[in-house]
Amino acid sequence: MSAPNASTGNTERTAVADTAQNGATRVAGMGSGRYIGKRAPRKEDPRLLTGRGQFVDDISLPGMLHVAFTRSPIARGAILSVNTEVARDVTGVHAIYTQQDLAVFNADMISFYLVSPDIKTTPLADGRVAYVGEPVALVIADNRHIAEDAASLVEVEYAEEDPVVTIGDARSGPTVHPGRDDNISVQMGEEELDEELADKLDSAPHLVTQKVVHQRISQSPMETRGVVATREGAQELTLYITCQSPHLVARWVSLALGVPQTAIRVIAKDVGGGFGLKNHPWKEETAVILATMLFDRPLKWIEDRYENLTASCQAREQEMVLQVAFDNDGKLLASHGDYSVNNGAFPQLSECNIAVHMFVWAAYKMPAYGFLTRGWYTNTPGYAAYRGPWGMESLIRETALDVAARRIGIDPIEIRRRNLVTLREQPAESVMGIPLEDVTPAECLEKLLEKFDVGQFRAEQASLRKEKRYLGLGIATYIEPTGAAGAITTMTGELAQVRIEPTGKVTATMSTHSQGHGTATTMAQIFADRLGVPYEDVSVFEGDSSRGGFSPGAAGSRQGVIAGGAAIMAADLLVSKVKTLAAHVLEADPGTVTIEDAMVRIEGSPEKSRSLAEIANIAYGEPDRLPAGFESGLEAQYRYQPPPMTFSSAANACVVEVDVDTGFVTILRWISSEDCGTAINPAVVEGQISGGLAQAIGMVLMEEVGFDARGNPVAATYKDYHLPAISDVPDFEFVHASTPSQSVGGMRGVGEGGAIIGVPTLVNAIADALSPFGEVPVELPLTPTRLLSVIEGRDLGAKAGSETTAVMASQPGAAPVDATPETPVAPPQATAEDATEAVRIDGDWNMALATPMGAQEMTGHFETSGETLSGYLASAEGQMDFTGTVAGNKLQFDLKVVKPMKITLKYNLEVNGDKISGKCKMGIMGSVKVTGQRAT
């Protein structure tokens, strides 16, 4: 660096040192400088409390026009004609686009896993509509009012067909997507119950068959979806979009549009909640982005609440039957789960929720488990994630345990004590092969019981029952995989970039993103703590894809765990830089350098103390004073790759009173005892749990996206879709167990837990309160009407989908009968032998494996010699050779893989002409479909 610059540096240094001193005086009262674990006030709050947040609708660009959509009024049918003439004539309308116009971009509507969808998914309806509210035309106008006026004037003629609305409809109805064999979007597990497992279930002293019907939920962030898109010439695209990670949106848009050469910048400074809905753009956002590129003017679309409740992706509609066998002591013997989830027409991912089965018994000593799991297409809005998407596992298990406890005649706490894996019993492995090293649900439960006197409650409950007052206690325990990284493309590590500015202040850019998570606060606490600077001196920036690096943001309770680790690692790198430099400049041993309150001190030499700003000024501006080989400046970055999974554990208790005259539930008390390891900021941790618990209360008592038989949404406003209000949510009491995790910093995720564990806790409390009247069917929401039917002993009638139970009950674990005709299977022997000569197996085949993460394409090469089969399967990941057997048109071979887990893949295929089909059994994960055709 040249001399003039160095002298400027000197002048600045003096000024900055003064500021730093003032700063030090100001913060002196703040205490020790340990910020991790403190209830620090949030950095985000002053902005948000004074109306200075920047949400997407707050963005206005010069020349910006507004978008509204013409949406389908029917759930299923063909589009016969679209007439935009009248709408186009409205003053202030600039353009009206249909899918024909947008088709030029050939957008690939990839999933969260960045895989192409199994079914053709387009931004606007393409010839057919598949749900009420599906966008058909996009109107661009001067303002929102005019755009909406014109959208209602677009004339669309439909040939309406009978819709497939429920999971029950999907099993027996016509196919939602033309050209598919059935409405199963994805399936895993075994259709036939394993004989050994069936024996265990049949011969058990107690067999509980628990059924749960979970309603459809609207994620309902208070800020609806929205996007402002602007193209700056052919090479740049800027998006302001409400999302859960600007980096993921940038990556998604780049891949979906196939425009890697375009600089895509995504900005989302403030986001009004996401909860899974805003992982990545979907139909409307994509349509607006494409329309921006076509029309070349900045466009804004802000979803209104009506659209959000009726046409956005939704979540949770699912049914499950869980059979659980117990011995006479209430110990678990075996279990089987049959799960179905409504994927809607165009899901953000084809979901069969394999995680439900992975985690249903993860924390319990369960010897044997089998399952069948399926996703179903219907004529309803598509599936998207919602906080704790696999939460059914806790709901069905914890309610089944209470049913079992009542039936066997043991205490619900005791049945958990007898079956939970305790800390002492670890390391252990779950029935699905999940390694457990430090889960603590049993310990959380004991801690909880220190705070809640069950004996006293039972006495009170008994005496009040005499007065015809019905109180109930619900207890539930669970574990949750958090901070996952490495198994899914988009679930990566997190990046922290931090610098001590020449002013001595600290700025950091993070890959994190807050939709209320307060990551600018918690990360600042970590930096302040580790760097030895006042919390007030730290600013954290996020929410812009041009800053920081890739991460999926808020997804899977991960940011505190992984980004926390990244922040610690980056801060530590920076500390060692400061120490090296200070030791050199002050002629001391690096081991004697400490940083506290933004002052750099040398042990035993108080006269050598310097402000951090002074050291920083040297680092940036006086290269001559740096040690040899020292990189100038004070900057560091670290991308932290955590252990593949970090578990959180919890036990919750709640007490309710059910008014048996009205069926209304009052929550009297709620205690959450959770183990989230190191709590960076307990107020933020409790905030995350409380928000989740409130959502759980909503799921149990009031929220429901409903449809009529024609697929019309019946909850179109917040008058029909009931979100919990302050009067519905009690004060939550917290007990924190803090077992540090093996992740750097010891954090465990807390983002989703409340929404998972709260549901069974409350259901169990209600069931306990009403136990004198019989079992409460778990059909959510438990409205007063439903509860009165239990109290008054009325049957409200079987709901759609109940055929599962019928089949399951009479024939444990058997597959529900599909009305869709089965593909004729070649009868045994004769035909197979006849076929031998005709069958052509040798050669190359294009095949696809229908995994829950999307279709996995591969090429198969087969060579036969007598009954011996050899060949290889090749995919982008590489090629694997195998040998196996041939019998007629049937092929059998095994492949051993080690990634993502050690597993033997057993292929059973059948060749029919130029088609190949069959199954691949993936160990405990069950079977998935294989399809393909001869390569030409």
């Binding site: 002053p46 200075r52 949400f55 208070m222 609806t224 807050s514 917040y718 409340g754």
Partner: protein, 166 residues
């Protein structure tokens, strides 16, 4: 569509604009006057995010037309803190009690509480909670919001309120 000229005093400043009759007060405040702290969560009167003060009363600005507020004094969340940046005590209570997460519902909650608990007014905890039951927050589970209401209803808070008055 008929257009009208409206004049309001917003956060102490006069603002004149021309609006179609159908434009809501919320849209006028956001789009024309630039007070984007007025948030729209439902546009049908349930969530409360759009609450502002019109002549000192808490009003859902999505349910009021701009023309109806012609000549009125309006306060939005941008107008509550003191000129030197000192937060209004409602804002401070919410900050201290971690009463917000994403902050989208917050402006409305602040304004409802300020209508009952600002400028020497003193609401009881029940009055505050009753009023807050007309607000939806999807993030917080209302824990910090309730604690803030309790803080504001405490006798000491009354003294501060009076103190601020004098």
């Amino acid at each position: 569509m008929s257009t009208h000229t409206v004049t309001m005093t917003i956060n102490g400043r006069r603002h004149t604009g021309t609006v179609e009759a159908r434009v809501s007060l919320a849209d006028f405040l956001r789009d024309q006057a630039g007070y984007t702290g007025v948030h729209l969560g439902c546009e049908h009167g349930v969530c409360g995010a759009c609450t502002v003060l019109v002549e000192g009363n808490a009003v859902r600005s999505c349910l009021m037309l701009a023309v109806q507020a012609d000549g009125a004094g309006v306060t939005t969340v941008e107008g509550l803190a003191a000129a030197d940046g000192t937060l209004h005590r409602v804002q401070e209570a919410l900050m201290n009690e971690h009463g917000l997460q994403c902050g989208f519902c917050t402006p409305g909650i602040v304004m409802t509480m300020a209508a009952l608990s600002g400028e020497g007014k003193k609401a009881t905890e029940t009055e505050l909670l009753d009023a807050l039951s007309g607000h939806l927050c999807r993030c917080t589970g209302y824990q910090g919001i309730r604690r803030a209401a309790q803080q504001l209803a405490k006798p000491e808070a009354m003294d501060t309120a009076n103190g601020e008055q004098s």
